[in-house]
Every structure is written in C-alpha cells, then in structure tokens.
C-alpha cells in the first residue's frame, strides 16, 4: 500500500466518526487502518454498516466543501505536544491555523457564575497579552469567557470542538469562533464534517485540550463535569494543573477546591497566574502592551479599568458618591472607557 493510499484509509477511518476508545479497540483487533477499513467494507465489523466506509475522494470533497483542512499524526505541522500524549487523534480537522507552540488550557463549567466568567476573561486576556496560545472548548460559561479574553487581549486562541468542523455548538458561539480564526487561531476537531455534537463526543475532546497545553487552568468546576475530565487527562499527560479556589459551599467551585486538595496549584488573580505560568511556559513572548489612554476630553476618561467592577466599588476607589458618581459613569461610558453589562462596569474596548 502506498503512502497516499494509507493516508486515504486513515482519512476514511476518521470519517467513521468513532469514539477514540472504540477505534483503538478495533485497530487492536484488525491491525492497520487499511485492514480495519477493508473489514468494514465487507461488513465484518458489527455495528458499522459497509455504507459507512466512504471513499477517500469523497472524504476530501467533504473536507473541501466545509473549508477545513486535514492534519495527520506525523505531519510536520501536527502539534508536537499533542503528538506526545498516549492516544493522540490520528486525524485532525482544522479551520484556521494551529499554533506550533504549546498553549495554556483554560477550562471550567458551563454553568459558571459571574465570578467564574470574570476570572476566565481576565486570565484569557492576560494569557493573550503574554503571547501564549489559549486552548479551550468553546462551550458556554468559562470556556467562552476565556475565549472572549483571548479576543480582548488580541491573542491566539484554539477552540477544540466536540462536533464536526462545520458545526458550532452552542450555535450562538459561531461569531466567537469565527473571530478566533480571523485573529490567527483555529477551531479543531477529530470528528469529520457533519458530525453532530453528541454528549459522548465531548469527554474525548478534553484530552486534546490538555494535549495542546503545557498547563491546564480550571477556573470553576463542579465535582462532575468535563472540566475535571480535562484536569485528569492533563495530569495523565504530565501537564501542570492550576485551579482557582472558590467558596467551599458553592457547587460551582467544589471541583476546583477538590483539585487543590488533591495537589493542583491554586492560583489567584491574573498576575498571580502569569507568574505561575511563566515557570511552566518560560518568559512571556511579547511584553504586555501599554494600555493606550483615550484622548482625554475630561480628566476622568484617563481612568482605565483593568477588570470588571461595580458602581460602588468604583466610587470608593475614586472617592466619588451619589449623583457625581452617576454622572461619572455616564461620561466614562460615553467616552468608551467602560462598558456596562447589567450592574457590571467592564473595561472598554
């Protein structure tokens, strides 16, 4: 079998969209991808009909149609860190460009609190400014908040999907995903085009998140859930696991607190995380850009928030209260120095 034929068989195998564990078991039984696919075509594999075997040309057409490309284990651009894990995906479907350097995984619960999303965004932005790629899962809650931080910090982000490359789940994160790709990041998956986001497809993709990362930061996680799976896979893969402590009686932080008890490194505000990360990642690639000060029409617009705050906290910080504080907020917002989300004051653009 020629190299090209072998690649074709590996691609056809990937297009079966199997769970990685099942794929590994079948390969153990049948040998090479070529042997396995031959068995499938003859209808010898139970549970997989012979029609599931798609010819390599059709696979390539489907890949071309959805605007992604294929990366195979052993290719020069296949991320080295991921290749080194125990069960790396044989084929990756990629939209955008996967950074060659190893990144930082930031994960957490989909049911995040404001505390979790605020911290995830702050971390995402700090990681972006340090020039490290951020890897997460594009899910609701912490994942999306971390990716938003990447966008805010103008960094490189990799979203690892639990569906085919042509499907975004949840759907409303499509603009976020597109933005990450535009900014030089990528959306990647081991599942072929057209694969719907089944629940069982998500735990396996967590090994890819930790595989692409030198360190995994769990921002907020319940005791059950994908974030702890990612942390566990990260530990198996020899990654450093960081966790953000939370109230001990809060369900959304129980997983993080347990990780800390079991030996994960607790991290606090973004600066603390950056210090800890630099031990793992080396010095930041690009020095943090100085924050541009907006052209001051009024002295207040020099104020730059580094993170979200509340009206009262801002008032205390600036020594302003009552109607003067209300007017100040109106001015800051009009000049784009802050954004508002409900009761929260967030840094402007």
């Amino acid at each position: 079998m020629t190299a090209a034929q072998t690649r074709g068989e590996r691609l056809a195998l990937a297009f079966l969209g199997l769970h990685p564990d099942r794929k590994r078991k079948l390969l153990d039984r049948f040998g090479t991808p070529g042997d396995l696919m031959a068995a499938v075509r003859r209808g010898r594999v139970e549970g997989i009909g012979s029609e599931a075997a798609i010819p390599a040309e059709q696979c390539r057409e489907a890949i071309g149609a959805c605007g992604c490309r294929v990366m195979m284990l052993g290719d020069p651009d296949y991320p080295g860190a991921l290749a080194g894990i125990e069960d790396p995906p044989d084929v990756l479907f990629v939209v955008g460009s996967v950074p060659l350097e190893v990144g930082v995984g930031v994960v957490g619960t989909r049911r995040s609190t404001r505390y979790g999303t605020r911290i995830a965004t702050a971390y995402g932005e700090a990681i972006a400014r340090a020039g490290w790629p951020l890897v997460s899962g594009l899910a609701r809650g912490v994942d999306a908040a971390a990716h938003l931080g990447t966008v805010a910090g103008n960094g490189i982000g990799v979203a690892v999907l639990g569906s085919g490359p042509d499907i975004t789940y949840p759907r409303e994160h499509r603009p976020l995903r597109d933005r990450l790709v535009e900014m030089g990041g990528a959306a990647i998956t081991e599942y072929p085009p057209g694969t719907p986001p089944h629940g069982w497809r998500f735990p396996p993709r967590n090994r890819i998140i930790s595989g692409l990362s030198a360190a995994v930061v769990v921002v907020e996680a319940a005791v059950t859930g994908g974030a702890l799976v990612t942390a566990a896979r990260g530990l198996e893969q020899g990654r450093v696991v960081f966790a953000v402590p939370g109230d001990i009686d809060r369900e959304a932080s129980a997983g993080c607190n347990r990780l800390i008890r079991d030996g994960a490194v607790p991290v606090f505000e973004a600066a603390d995380l950056m210090e800890a990360l630099s031990l793992v990642m080396g010095p930041p690639r690009s020095p943090p850009e100085p924050v541009p000060t907006p052209d001051g029409e009024s002295p207040e617009s020099d104020l730059v928030l580094s993170e979200g705050t509340t009206v009262e906290a801002l008032g205390r910080r600036l020594g302003v209260a009552g109607s003067a504080l209300v007017a100040l907020i109106g001015r800051l917002e009009a000049h784009g120095a802050i954004r508002r989300d409900g009761e929260w004051l967030l840094p402007g653009h």
Partner: protein
C-alpha cells in the same frame, strides 16, 4: 302623600345625586321600587319594613311606590335603605317632613341599626354641593367626612330621624387611628447608588421607572419607597384618590401619600383596567391614580395586558365600555416595573450560576420589549448588595429627597408640563450647554443611541437639571441621564 330624599350614586368615579321619591297612596298593601334597582336595592323593601317597625313607627298599610331618579342610572347595593326609610316615614306622615332635607346614605339592619354602605364619600360631596347635611352611618363617617361637607354620623334609623330634625346630636366621630406610614424610607436602602438616584429622578420628572436585578436585591423596596419621595397629595388630589377608592368599594387610603398599587401578574384585565359585570368599577390603574402602579415581574404579565396599559397611561384616562354603561376612569399614574435579568433571576450574579438556557433568556427578553418598554425613561440595574455595604452608613432619607423633588416639580409646573411628556420639539427648545451637546453627540456615535433613546436621555437630563435647580442642562446632567438610561 309624597316625599323625596336625596342620596348619591357614582358614575365612573363622579358622584351624582340620586333623588329617592316616595309616594304613599291607595288602600291595598304594596311596596314597589322602580328606577333600575338591582337585587340588593329591591331587597331594601324587607329591611326598610323591619327597620321602621323597630323604631315604633307604623309602616303604612297602603301602596308605597319608591322611584330612584334619574331612572335610567343603574343603582346598586344596599346604600339606599336609609333614604327610602326616611322618605316612607315622611310620606306617610309618621315624622315631620323636615327629615327629608338631608342627603342620606346607609344600609339598615332589621333592628334599625345603620350600617356603612358604599357611596358615603359620594353622598358627602353631593351634600357639600347642595349645602345640606349628610347622614351616614357612624362607621362610614371618616370616608364621607373627606368630602369636607356637613357630615353627621347616625347610629340607627330613630337616631337618623332625630339628627335630621335637629333633636339629637350626631354620633361622635370615631377616634382617628394613627396608621404607621407603610412607605419604606429611602434611608433603609444602602449602596445602590444608581437605583437610589433613579428613584429620585423618576419622582422628580414623573418618569416611568424600570428596575432590573436578581431576586432579593431590593427592587420591591425601592419601588415602595417611591411614594415617599413624591410630593404629598393636595387636598383636592386626595379627594380624587378617595373617590376612586370609594367607586371600587374600598376604604380610602389614609394620609397624604400618593397611592401605591402592586397588582399581581395573574390579575385579570378587568382587575387592572377596571370593569366587571353591570356597573364598571375602577381597576388597579385607577386606584393608582395620582400615585404609583408597580408591576413586579413585568415579564410574567400577559403581553396583551401590557399592550392594553399603554394607551390609558399615555392619556391619563381609561375608557371602559360595557353593555348598558360606558365610563372613563382617571389613571394619571407613574409606572414602576421590576424584572429579573432572566427567568431564574441569577444571570450575571456573583455567586449563583444561572440555570437558564440562552433560548429561554431570549424569549424572556423579547417579552420585555415592545411599545410599553419604550415608555420607561429611567432603567437601572439593581444588584444584590455586598455585605460591607449593608453594614455601611444608611443613605439619605426620603424627606430630604422629597424636598428636592418638590422643588424640581415646581420648576416643571412653571414651564407647563412634567418632563416625562416632553416631545422632541420641546426638548429642542430647551437650553443645552456646549459640553452637554458634545457629550450627547459622542454618546450617539459611540453607543449607537437611537433617536428615541436620545430623547429619553434629554428628558431625564432636564429633570436632573431641575433637581439641581439649574435653568440650563449641562454636561454633567446629560452624563447622569446616560448612566440612568439602562442598556439599549
């Protein structure tokens, strides 16, 4: 023999005199009431007969005909028992004719006791206009006395005859019950800089107010505090409010505070707008006239009900047409709405995760849009207050805020209209400093302020200038207005 006594009925909330004409003639025994009486009025026959017997007088064994004029106005309830009894006694010559020179209202017990009945306030007003004494039950004295007429409380039918003839003194008015002011003081609201200011500004300009925040953040308390920072009702305004309550058959609110009504979101259209079978009665809209209508959990109210609110709120009157009667009630209200940020209430909360799906949040939000939402000039978030703020010093009290609000309202009265109803033409004619105009332009560019949003900011800015006693609107006023405009 013929006699007539004046009583009163309500047309909408307007008191209207009713003449109770009694004719006693013929030889057979009969007792008829005509003039659109309802069942309760018709049953007056039995009560009047017994009550007269209890006084020791004779009920005439002749043809007694009672006509309630104007004959085409529907009469409801038991309030005409007393005037009918007085008329029968006078027409049959049992007592001197002078007993009929009164306005009387009240229900009779079989033993002759006079009980309070609906319409006491209306009778008081009718009596004041006709400069006659007004007889009401001792229990109904307080309500009727709000009219400012010559109101006399009577205990029984015999006592009523004696009082009408000037032979006996009226019953002593019930002792004034000191009712604790139920309006919470703004001083109890700690932190909440935006929301406190929003309440003050909304009160000063008559702007409708929207409060958005998680459960337990204090939205209801802020809304309830609003009547406490509004100027007290004048005597005539207080009388109008009492009339609306009387028309709904409720005891009038005590004290000079503007009314506060908070209908539940399961209330029917008729309960809120007014209506009911037969003669329409005022709904919550009218009970909140000259005061505050608070819609808690705005998104839970049916959409058709919110749509139906819009026109009456703009016009200040609600028109109700029913078979046989078409009335309009006043509803010059200030609307306060409270809503959670999402169905479970915890979106954006610091500690508790939100359990809503994005789709359900979208659905929830879409219920909060539309024409009624446009009417809310002031919209603020109400976060849960952090513990250190709860322990902090109390905020400014309602009395100090009310003083500023009163001054601001006075300035608007001089200009001719409350700021909440200013149109774009009005706003363009106001004086704006260059700084304020620059800020408005910046906001339009940066925040994508729409034309309507621009007008809202300008209306609120004018109110803030009034609170500051400023004739021109400065940049600071506009900046504050922008912070109180909410998002989008």
């Amino acid at each position: 023999m013929f006699a007539s006594v004046t009583s009163a009925a309500l047309v909408g909330v307007e008191p209207c005199p009713v003449r109770v004409e009694v004719d006693v003639s013929g030889r057979t025994r009969a007792f008829t009431i005509v003039g659109l009486p309802d069942a309760a009025v018709r049953e007056a026959r039995e009560r009047v007969r017994s009550a007269i017997a209890s006084t020791g007088h004779h009920f005439p064994s002749r043809v007694v005909t009672v006509n309630l004029a104007p004959a085409d106005l529907p009469k409801v309830g038991s309030a005409y028992d007393l005037p009918i009894a007085l008329g029968v006694l006078a027409a049959s010559g049992e007592v001197p004719r002078a007993v009929t020179d009164v306005v009387a209202i009240g229900e009779l017990a079989l033993d002759g006791t006079v009980r309070p009945a609906r319409g006491g306030l209306a009778a008081g007003i009718v009596a004041r206009r006709s400069k006659s004494p007004c007889l009401v039950s001792a229990g109904g004295f307080t309500e009727a006395a709000m009219s400012g007429g010559d109101v006399r409380g009577v205990r029984s039918l015999a006592h009523a005859v004696a009082v009408a003839l000037g032979e006996d003194a009226a019953a002593a008015p019930p002792a004034e019950v000191e009712v604790a002011d139920p309006v919470p003081d703004l001083a109890a609201v700690r932190g909440q800089t935006l929301a406190r200011r929003a309440v003050e500004v909304a009160a000063a300009g008559g702007h409708h107010l929207m409060l958005m925040g998680p459960p337990g953040a204090g939205k209801t308390m802020l809304a309830r505090a609003l009547p406490g920072v509004l100027p007290d009702l004048t005597q005539s305004e207080g009388l109008e409010v009492a009339q609306a309550y009387a028309a709904a058959g409720r005891p009038p609110p005590t004290g000079p505070r503007p009314p506060f009504r908070s209908p539940h979101h399961s209330a029917t259209m008729a309960a809120i707008l007014g209506g009911g079978s037969g003669v329409p009665v005022p709904g919550e809209l009218t009970l909140a006239d000259r005061g505050v209508l608070f819609l808690d959990e705005l998104a839970e109210f049916p959409v058709h009900l919110l749509d139906a609110l819009r026109q009456p709120i703009e016009e200040g009157r609600v028109h109700i047409a029913r078979k046989g009667a078409s009335v309009s009630f006043p509803c010059r209200i200030q609307l306060v709405a409270a809503t959670n940020p999402c169905p479970c209430g915890y979106r954006g909360d610091e500690r508790t995760p939100c359990r809503c799906s994005p789709a359900s949040i979208d659905r929830y939000r879409s219920r909060l849009s539309g024409p009624l939402l446009d009417r809310f000039d002031v919209r603020v978030p109400v976060p849960r207050v952090a513990v250190d703020e709860l322990l902090g010093p109390p905020g400014e009290g309602s009395a100090a805020v009310r003083a500023r609000v009163t001054v601001a309202r006075e300035a608007q009265r001089e200009r001719g209209a409350p700021n909440s109803v200013l149109t774009r033409e009005h706003l363009d004619r106001l004086t704006w400093t260059p700084d304020s105009e620059r800020l408005l332009r910046t906001a339009m560019d940066r925040l994508g302020l729409t034309g309507r949003g621009w007008d809202r900011v300008r209306r609120v800015a004018r109110t803030i200038a009034d609170l500051a006693g400023s004739a021109v609107v400065t940049g600071d006023h506009v900046a504050e207005a922008m912070a109180l405009r909410g998002s989008a």
